[in-house]
């Protein structure tokens, strides 16, 4: 095993949408600062953007105002958003999109030069190579890119973050990276819950399966304040292949029909807004239809023209190629058969929902020298890819603003030894140990059955959640003995530990919010009503590594 020590001004953890943009931004503003990007895959095709995108979902069209935009997000999230964060995102959207267009992203335009709409707040792009385009722009900066290096923990001296430790998957090396400021941009968390698909298809999921919540877990372990983990994201997607339904919904405006061919949103869910209902109510309605014996549910694509079908396929090839295979399977073509939809497993994401670090407007976390951007940052839902870029830009400026007074900290040798031992220990264990495969299955079973996964119709109640708390504590003890056979397996083992740390915090959040605010995302059978008098607050948490306790904190909406 090699030890690689690197000193830098700014360390960016996660070279996805936000991480790449932050590096580009720092170089633009202050080309003399040293930047290191630590990325577990290769920045050319990593994270959520690996497949590509066909739309930028957050954009301020001329007929919207920042106020109308913010009030849309506030309504979608039933009153709970950090307006300061949301506004700061809205104000920066169009500029970051322009920047990425300059890097080479093809954006579809109208005759008058404005961006082609995909919806009220969305634009059409040809984004199959969005990630390579960002990576190429990063390569033009002086940033040092560490591909295939997995961040394992922050270097934390009890007061401030002084860098991070990492593991080189290809080299089996241990990385000690000292930095004056750290920007965490590792995305959200998939794989906490048991997935809809099993066996050979277990990773055929919507959210990137390698964003496992390590960024959250590293913050939790040093006592960073986290927010809104109870606001889980459960997307309504094309059954089995998890392709986003928005491409069909906005592209050809089909009806949502049940097995009897009835437009169920209009017929049964007028009180939720019918066809104009909130995103999570669309999911709720679909689940209710199935429960009432009127499922399966579909998007009725059978009336579309051959031309529209071609356009849909092209749109999906830019973003989600698997659905093309589904349609190429016998009789599955969207003009022959309506497209079946279903809810997926819950994901913890700060970009569609708002689980993540509690940050201020400058994207500072509650830990000194640590900034957060993108899906890993909380409080501002519906930020999507462009909002992640805006946050990266803000985090980059604030890190640069503070860095002059900062210095590189001497790292305690004991701290280094402790992390090195923790990281490599699984490779030394053999008989009598637990293995990543078993731990993953155990965690997903517990979360599915006791913390509102698919098998429970996403519903929650106190007694089961208390059982989840107990089972997770016991699993965490057991995992101290996790073993691995090779470097790939070792990463899986470390990910298991991270996922359990995230799951524990999640369960505490689910226990704490005693109302039903976002149906399906957070449905409490024992508190079925929404209670604005009591619960128009953020539910936050802080883990204490010395006592192993999680303290819950309530914060007012204004942050």
């Amino acid at each position: 095993m090699n030890i690689v020590s690197i000193d830098t001004d700014i360390l960016i953890i996660g070279g996805g949408a936000a991480g790449c943009f932050a590096a580009i931004e720092i170089y633009k503003k202050s080309p003399n600062y040293q930047v290191v990007i630590m990325e577990k895959a290769h920045i050319e095709r990593s994270g959520c953007l690996a497949m590509g995108l066909n739309a930028i979902n957050a954009y301020l069209h001329p007929d919207q105002t920042p106020e109308s935009y913010a009030s849309y997000i506030e309504r979608q999230f039933e009153g709970i958003i950090r307006k300061d964060l949301v506004y700061s995102i809205i104000m920066g959207l169009n500029e970051v999109v322009r920047n990425v267009e300059e890097m080479g992203l093809p954006i579809l335009k109208n005759a008058d030069g404005t961006c082609q709409r995909r919806g009220k707040r969305s634009i059409r792009i040809l984004g199959e190579r969005l990630k390579p385009i960002l990576a190429e722009a990063v390569q033009k900066t002086s940033a040092r890119i560490l591909n295939r290096v997995v961040a394992t923990n922050f270097i934390f001296n009890g007061k401030r973050v002084c860098g991070a430790f990492g593991y080189g998957v290809k080299t089996n090396a241990f990385y000690i990276i000292r930095a004056k400021a750290v920007i965490v941009a590792t995305g959200g968390a998939a794989g906490i819950y048991r997935p809809v698909n099993s066996g050979e298809a277990r990773h055929l999921m919507w959210y990137c399966p390698w964003n496992v919540g390590t960024g959250y877990a590293m913050g939790i372990r040093i006592g960073a304040e986290m927010t809104s983990f109870e606001n889980r994201f459960i997307p309504l997607r094309v059954k089995d292949v998890h392709a986003p339904t928005g491409t069909i919904a906005v592209g050809v405006r089909p009806k949502n029909i049940n097995a009897r061919g009835e437009d169920y949103l209009e017929l049964y869910y007028k009180h939720l807004g019918g066809n104009r209902c909130l995103t999570h109510h669309r999911l709720l309605a679909t689940i209710e239809e199935v429960k009432a014996g009127r499922g399966p549910c579909f998007l009725d694509t059978t009336t579309i023209s051959e031309e529209e079908e071609k356009r849909l396929k092209k749109d999906y090839l830019n973003m989600n190629p698997q659905i093309i295979l589904l349609w190429a399977g016998k009789d599955m073509n969207p003009r022959k058969r309506p497209v079946e939809i279903q809810g997926t497993e819950p994901f913890i994401v700060g970009g569609h929902c708002q689980a993540g670090y509690w940050i201020d407007k400058e994207r500072r976390t509650t830990i000194q020298n640590l900034y957060a951007a993108g899906e890993v940052a909380g409080g501002a839902p519906k930020k999507y890819v462009s909002g992640s870029w805006v946050e990266a830009r803000i985090a980059a400026s604030s890190a640069l603003g503070n860095i002059k007074e900062e210095y590189l900290e001497e790292i305690d040798n004991e701290l280094i030894q402790k992390e090195k031992t923790r990281v490599f220990a699984p490779l030394t264990r053999k008989t009598g140990s637990v293995w990543p495969f078993g731990v993953r299955e155990r965690l997903q079973k517990v979360m599915d059955e006791y913390a509102g996964g698919i098998s429970m119709g996403y519903a929650l109640h106190e007694e089961r959640l208390l059982e989840a708390r107990r089972l997770l504590a016991s699993l965490r003890e057991k995992v101290k003995d996790i073993a691995a056979v090779d470097s790939y397996n070792l990463v899986e083992a470390l990910e298991c530990i991270d996922k359990i740390d995230v799951a524990r915090v999640l369960v505490e959040h689910l226990i704490y919010r005693k109302e039903t605010r976002w149906s399906c995302y957070q449905t409490r059978l024992d508190y079925p009503q929404k209670d604005d008098n009591r619960w128009l607050v953020f539910v936050n948490s802080v883990y204490n590594p010395y006592t192993d306790e999680i303290t819950m904190i309530e914060r007012p909406l204004q942050g």
Partner: protein, 109 residues
């Protein structure tokens, strides 16, 4: 199965320290075996993202759906050109369809 690698076509990206499919997989799943042919570490861990399919210069990799998801065989291949990606879909009845998607100019253009 999510990707199928045709060993008769794969040339192992000989001369490169790391094969192209290995370099590009966001999940670190592709690797070269001792015989310099590409393989996938764990089919069940594949996200079916097609990054490796696009990257292979000789079209040795095709995307398929696991049997559990679709019991009729269909396949998807891709070729990257400077400013476009050319996709070939073979459906369960053997019909072939081609799509040309505009993309950005790649490095070196």
């Amino acid at each position: 199965m999510s990707i199928f690698i045709d060993e008769n076509i794969c040339n192992g990206c000989k001369g490169l320290p790391e094969s192209r499919c290995e370099r590009i997989c966001p999940g670190n799943l592709c690797y070269r075996k001792e015989n310099m042919k590409a393989d996938i570490r764990d089919q069940s861990a594949c996200w079916t993202c097609a990054c490796c399919v696009k990257e292979c210069p000789v079209q040795a990799i095709e995307l398929r759906l696991p049997f559990q998801i679709c019991n009729n065989h269909a396949s998807l291949k891709a070729r990257l050109k400077h400013d476009k990606t050319i996709w070939t879909i073979l459906d369960a009845e053997g019909n072939q369809e081609e799509f040309i998607i505009q993309a950005k100019l790649l490095k070196g253009d």
